[in-house]
Symmetry: C2
Subunit: 415 residues, 2 copies
């Protein structure tokens, strides 16, 4: 998948350690019986960070979500570390909150910081009792091993059904100071576009106030993770956090302006690249799908239309099967939860193999070459471009096809 290019922003290596002053580590603490797979990760900044987070809106919230909220409130939006495990979500357990607090305490002790400076997250099976023992036994080793190269170990520790590690980072300038912002994410099922989705950890050396950091995060989530759909389910443990340690030395961003907009774009770039990686690695996915909606009367409409197409089970099956049943795309646009005139809508389907004009207004599907359609749908990355022709707003949504493997993976997840 090609990365989108932005003037003044350059992709760099390093994930959550790309920013100055951050180190990370990951290891197997025994939650995953396969000892070759990491299941516990840590991110650390010696310098105190301003921190912001957005959480799942599910009424059933994982204990780590509740504890992280509590910590960030108690610390006034500051943090120094992230501790995160896979294989067990620590959700719907009777003693979940106590356990999450205890694990935060282990991390704080190992790092010599306050427990309220720890962001904690878990992902995995819901409703399975979780013992603190593996955490107690491995926390020291995890902290001692923190390094600038540890970002890959940490990114591996949060993988569940992910088949590839997801990391992204950019370098850019604010007031002539070189800044960096990077992140890591995990997918890849139970990702719904209606809120903060999946687990994502972002770090940056930009200096920015808690309030502006939270604003930037809330804004970016709307057009990135919230525009991703794998299967329509919304996890109990979703969380996106950002930590900013100010090591780049720029004047602290405390209000909207050029510096804030530069930061916001960096955040958007990293979050949208991670989002696209999550889509391409959706459970069982064989194809990456992007739906853009332009010409919308407002951004909400653009988002709703793009998501409606990306979420449609029938469109997802069409893409898997390579069957040019365009009516399903028209149908999914038509039931999007938004108000617009369907008879002005243009639709194109394209890939590296070419473009087919599906519709040019009047809700009529145009004649097309089956041969060309088969070639276009035979590619691994397919774009559906919708133009409502009734405004200036636009948005994109990302997803993947629905395959036998999705059913297989989710018919037997726990074992």
């Amino acid at each position: 998948m090609k990365k989108e290019e932005y003037d003044g922003y350059c992709y760099v290596e390093g994930g959550v350690c790309a920013a100055i002053g951050f180190s990370a580590n990951g290891l197997n603490c025994g939650l995953n019986p396969d000892k070759s797979k990491n299941d516990l990760g840590m991110i650390y900044s010696e310098k105190l960070c301003t921190a912001a987070a957005v959480y799942t809106q599910n009424k059933v919230k994982g204990a780590p979500v509740l504890v992280t909220k509590r910590h960030l409130e108690a610390s006034g939006g500051t943090a120094k570390a992230v501790i995160v495990n896979s294989k067990n979500a620590n959700t719907c357990n009777a003693d979940g909150v106590d356990i999450a607090e205890e694990i935060s305490g282990f991390a704080a002790n190992a790092l010599g910081i306050h427990a309220r400076e720890v962001i904690i997250a878990s992902t995995g099976v819901i409703g399975q009792p979780m013992s603190v023992k593996p955490f107690a036994e491995h926390m020291q080793e995890l902290a001692v091993g923190l390094s600038k190269d540890g970002h890959t170990e940490a990114a591996t520790a949060i993988m569940t059904t992910d088949t590839v590690r997801k990391e992204a980072a950019v370098e850019f300038k604010i007031a002539d100071r070189v800044c960096r912002l990077g992140g890591m994410a995990k997918g890849s099922g139970m990702i719904n576009p209606n809120m903060a989705t999946t687990l994502n950890f972002i770090t940056t050396d930009v200096s920015i106030s808690v309030e502006m950091l939270q604003n930037a995060l809330k804004d970016s989530v709307k057009t990135t993770y919230n525009c991703l759909c794998i299967d329509g389910d919304t996890s109990t443990n979703d969380m996106v956090s950002v930590m900013a340690n100010g090591a780049a030395g720029n004047p602290e961003i405390t209000a909207d302006g050029t510096a804030y907009q530069s930061f916001r774009l960096a955040l958007f770039i990293v979050m949208s690249e991670l989002t696209k990686m999550l889509a391409a690695d959706g459970e069982g996915a064989s194809k990456f799908l992007e739906c853009s909606c332009a010409g919308a009367p407002d951004q909400r409409t653009a988002v709703m239309v793009a998501k409606s197409v990306i979420q449609s089970s029938l469109v997802k099956c069409l893409m898997f099967g390579g069957d040019a049943n365009w009516g399903r795309i028209m149908c999914a646009i038509g039931y999007a939860d938004a108000e617009f005139d369907m008879n002005k809508v243009d639709v194109d389907v394209s890939s590296d193999a070419g473009t087919i004009e599906v519709c040019r207004g009047n809700s009529v599907i145009l004649p097309f070459s089956e041969e060309k359609a088969a070639m276009i749908l035979g590619e691994k990355e397919i774009t559906i471009a919708v133009n409502l022709n009734q405004g200036e707003a636009e948005a994109k949504a990302w997803g993947c096809d629905l395959t036998y493997d999705y059913v297989k993976i989710n018919g037997d997840y726990r074992s």
Copy 2:
């Protein structure tokens, strides 16, 4: 699947011909290249009927939907016949409305009635040009062959990916007159719970005003077809129509009261039995799922919770794989679009093999026997019972599991 029993209502044979004065027929007119399969159906009442219908809320509406609306408006809510075809939805075609009008005209001519007395519907592929020729050539034969036994031929004509014919009918009394109400329906993909779903035709010999008929239909749809979810997609051609010819001789129902309530229950029984048949025959389905939600503060909440569980891709996969991953049920309840206290919720999962208590408040999943869970999930009909314990309202939703076959059927639908 067991039918639910109601005092004073008795299930009878005959589908759309169970009511006095209705006849039907179905044949292959050539839309389906497999000549052994019917693709064109007709229902007829010599006596003029009051008629009501509800339609898809998709912005892309099939031409037959637009034409039926126009006819019922022109006739003041009366009708004498239904003409319906499968294999082609006559949607997103440039000349779709003209073609639907022309076909209505053929039916009217063959029956010696007005075109505005014809309800027309189509189901099948969207965006495929439709010729009137097969309709012109077979309409006379279709009309001549109308009979009391023709309900099976008609019910067969509307099947698309359905594997079984769906018919239901009941006999009951209003003011000491024996009345009948029956119907036929088609599934089985692209069925979303947010509106009138799929194609359904109901006939009755009850005498009832247009207004009360429309009220009863709108009401019943909310708790029957609208509580069905196969794949979350909403068709462009959905329609439910009811025709009442008054042949039972009861005093015309013109207001709420005992007679209206008896009629309304008959409508609910037939529509909910058809809904359950649609769920059990969902595309690729291997299991029938029912989710009941009791103890809700209001009916909307009950409906939203029951639907949220039935719609979850991950719950559907769990049922297919027989994997007791109860967290997914808790998760789906938690993201239902309604306000309630999650910590009061009880959840049970049961089948003919027994019941497991999944949760008793506090969002904690209780310990359970894996062996017993495997036995329960091994059955073909599974019930998830949710009790919110915060009110008196209740509702049910129906669906099916998500299987390899769903993906297979929809990866290559047109061919």
